[in-house]
């Protein structure tokens, strides 16, 4: 069990900066997701930690070792690829034993470790089969077994579940979590799927354009996004822009909105974010913020009813309501939205 630190790591290809000065730590035994759109640099960061890419400057430390100049094969990592990358000309057992053999472990002891790893991923006795004979989910488990059997310092996963269909994916997520907890491996997980990041991780790092925009526990990052990008990429958000006035925010249409997050000085502009599920349809007087709007579209999505609305000023809003009574409202209806100041977050642009 080791922690991983990256210090001022940056990478530019030609004139395109892909990673800009990243400094962060992945603590021992933690499961961290690198979440972001394509091009955000999350895969680049992972591959720098792995050693496939050498950063332009900066340092990578695994445990107490500075591995910046150590090539991939000397870093003792375990890696899972999106395409499983099982060796097609070897049996499952040979695949799993590959890393052991590189470390001088052969014969009976290797077999024991291989069996143990296969049991851990719930594929006992599969040793003699070949990758061709296995389904996608099974291949992925073998890839996992292969990576953990060598007891690496860190487990690196490059969107390993993207190729699986939904139900298989959810199944593998549970397996992955269980195995990670059992083995206590420091894990870095790259994904563009927010749900995956939220459900699996101890920490979520949101990346955008080569920078870590926000890093923290899933709940923190979701409930209190720091930037507009974080508020938009993770989940959905409504954005209200206005000017700070005596501890509240005055919007363009004159209404006053309150927020419990720290606001900049009076007179400065600020953007507030409110998540659609934090709003509700209210009537009469309301404690907290309120706004009138007209429904432009009703989307019936099963457990959730999604409303697109527009204020008199033309500001677009979204509302997610639990489907308790089915579709009651329709396009054109005028309603009042209410939400609390706690759920109003000031975000940087």
């Amino acid at each position: 069990m080791t922690n991983v630190k990256v210090n001022s790591v940056a990478k530019t290809y030609g004139t395109t900066p892909v990673l800009a000065d990243i400094t962060t730590e992945f603590t021992e035994g933690s499961f961290t997701s690198l979440l972001g759109p394509s091009g955000s640099g999350k895969t680049t960061l992972l591959r720098i930690v792995a050693g496939f890419i050498k950063p332009d400057h900066g340092m990578v430390m695994i445990g107490n070792n500075d591995v910046t100049d150590v090539p991939v094969w000397g870093r003792n990592i375990g890696m899972m690829f999106q395409s499983y990358a099982l060796f097609p000309h070897m049996t499952i057992a040979q695949n799993v034993a590959f890393g052991l053999e590189r470390r001088g472990i052969r014969g009976a002891q290797a077999r024991k470790e291989v069996d143990r790893a296969l049991e851990m991923v719930r594929l006992p006795g599969f040793g003699d089969r070949t990758p061709k004979q296995l389904s996608g989910g099974q291949q992925q488990r073998v890839a996992l077994a292969r990576a953990i059997v060598i007891k690496p310092s860190v487990l690196l996963l490059d969107e390993p579940l993207s190729a699986l269909d939904r139900s298989l994916r959810q199944e593998m997520q549970v397996e992955l979590l269980r195995i990670q907890r059992e083995s206590g491996l420091t894990t870095i997980f790259v994904t563009h799927d927010q749900e995956e990041a939220l459900t699996l991780s101890d920490k979520v790092a949101i990346l955008d354009k080569g920078r870590i925009v926000q890093i923290g526990e899933p709940q923190t990052v979701y409930e209190k996004p720091l930037t507009r990008f974080a508020a938009e990429f993770l989940g959905d958000s409504n954005f209200l822009s206005g000017t700070v006035e005596n501890g509240a925010v005055r919007l363009a249409d004159g209404s006053l909105v309150r927020s419990t997050s720290p606001l900049p000085a009076s007179g400065s502009r600020v953007t507030l974010a409110v998540r659609p599920e934090k709003m509700a349809i209210v009537s009469g007087d309301v404690d907290g913020n309120a706004m009138k709007a007209r429904i432009t579209t009703v989307i019936y999505a099963g457990p959730v009813l999604s409303y697109h609305l527009e204020t008199a000023d033309g500001l677009p809003l979204k509302l997610f309501a639990q489907n308790r009574d089915g579709v009651v409202l329709k396009q054109g209806d005028e309603i009042t939205l209410g939400w609390s100041a706690d759920h109003t977050v000031a975000v940087a642009d």
Partner: protein, 304 residues
């Protein structure tokens, strides 16, 4: 305990301290490439350069004779006008061969794509390409069996009209073209096939649904989309054909005089290597000019 060895190994990292030292990539890359390109230099590039130099000599260097540089070999077309006629003949043969290959080959490729599927198509492709990869000489020889007097063609004729004369046309220009088309047709079929096979069926269906008949589809859709295949096939056929000497000699006899045979003569009969060299290089210049003109299409057409 049991995990000790593994723990130690993990701590030490795989492969031990040896893993730290890495040879710079360019060393191994050079080592991999040097033998091949060294060989090609000796076998192809140096010879071409030498031939270029030779084309400026006045006579084949033999023993103690003095080496004289001259441009006269390149004036051969002016000094010996019959060469112009031969050059034109070669170009014409090239043109007709390419034309027939283009029409027959393109239609064959269309037939392959539209009328043959799965295993049948695979088998047909192999059958069509198989002769192509065998000895060209033998194939040319086989045409003599068919075209000569009292050969196969005549035998077929005499089965229905026993008193008719001979229709064997060996030792004519037509025979040369037939032999060349036979030899290079599979090439055109292949390049057109590769180009056609990438055309989405949906395009043809869309055209049909808009009212197009088969000739419109053929000429307005298939031909333009398969153009890269047609052009690369044409280039790759025309070039060897204008330099051919085997087919003209065997199938053309006395009539079979082309640039190829003239060049070959300089090296085997006339022993006038400088002239042969200059003619070769003139031919090469034509070849390179054609390549340069069509290089963009070629790169796309033969992407394999």
């Amino acid at each position: 305990m049991q995990n000790d060895q593994l723990t130690l190994a993990s701590a030490r990292g795989p492969s031990g301290p040896r893993s730290r030292r890495v040879l710079p990539a360019w060393v191994s890359t050079t080592a991999l490439l040097l033998p091949t390109y060294g060989w090609l230099t000796i076998a192809v590039f140096l010879p071409l350069i030498t031939m270029f130099v030779f084309s400026f000599l006045s006579a084949t260097p033999m023993g103690k004779a003095p080496i004289v540089f001259t441009l006269k070999q390149y004036r051969a077309f002016i000094d010996q006008p019959y060469l112009v006629g031969i050059g034109i003949t070669s170009l014409l043969i090239g043109f007709w061969t390419t034309l027939f290959c283009a029409v027959l080959g393109f239609l064959a490729a269309v037939a392959l794509v539209r009328s043959a599927f799965g295993k049948t198509r695979e088998m047909l492709l192999i059958l069509i390409l198989l002769p192509f990869w065998t000895n060209g000489l033998v194939r040319v020889f086989s045409w003599t069996m068919v075209l000569r007097e009292n050969g196969f063609l005549d035998s077929l004729l005499h089965m229905v009209a026993p008193d008719a004369g001979s229709i064997g046309f060996l030792y004519t220009r037509y025979a040369i073209v037939v032999g060349l088309v036979h030899g290079y047709l599979p090439y055109m079929i292949l390049t057109c096939y590769i180009a056609l096979v990438t055309i989405d069926d949906a395009i043809i269906e869309a055209a049909s649904s808009l009212g197009a008949r088969w000739w419109t589809i053929l000429f307005k859709i298939l031909v333009p989309l398969a153009a890269p295949g047609l052009i690369s096939g044409a280039v790759l056929i025309f070039i060897p054909v204008i330099g051919s000497f085997m087919e003209p000699r065997i199938l053309g006899g006395r009539v079979g005089v082309t640039m190829g045979t003239v060049i070959e003569d300089q090296f085997t009969q006339a022993f006038n290597w400088p002239l042969g060299a200059s003619l070769s290089f003139t031919l090469l210049a034509v070849v390179l000019a054609i390549f340069a003109t069509f290089s963009g299409v070629l790169r796309r057409g033969t992407a394999a």
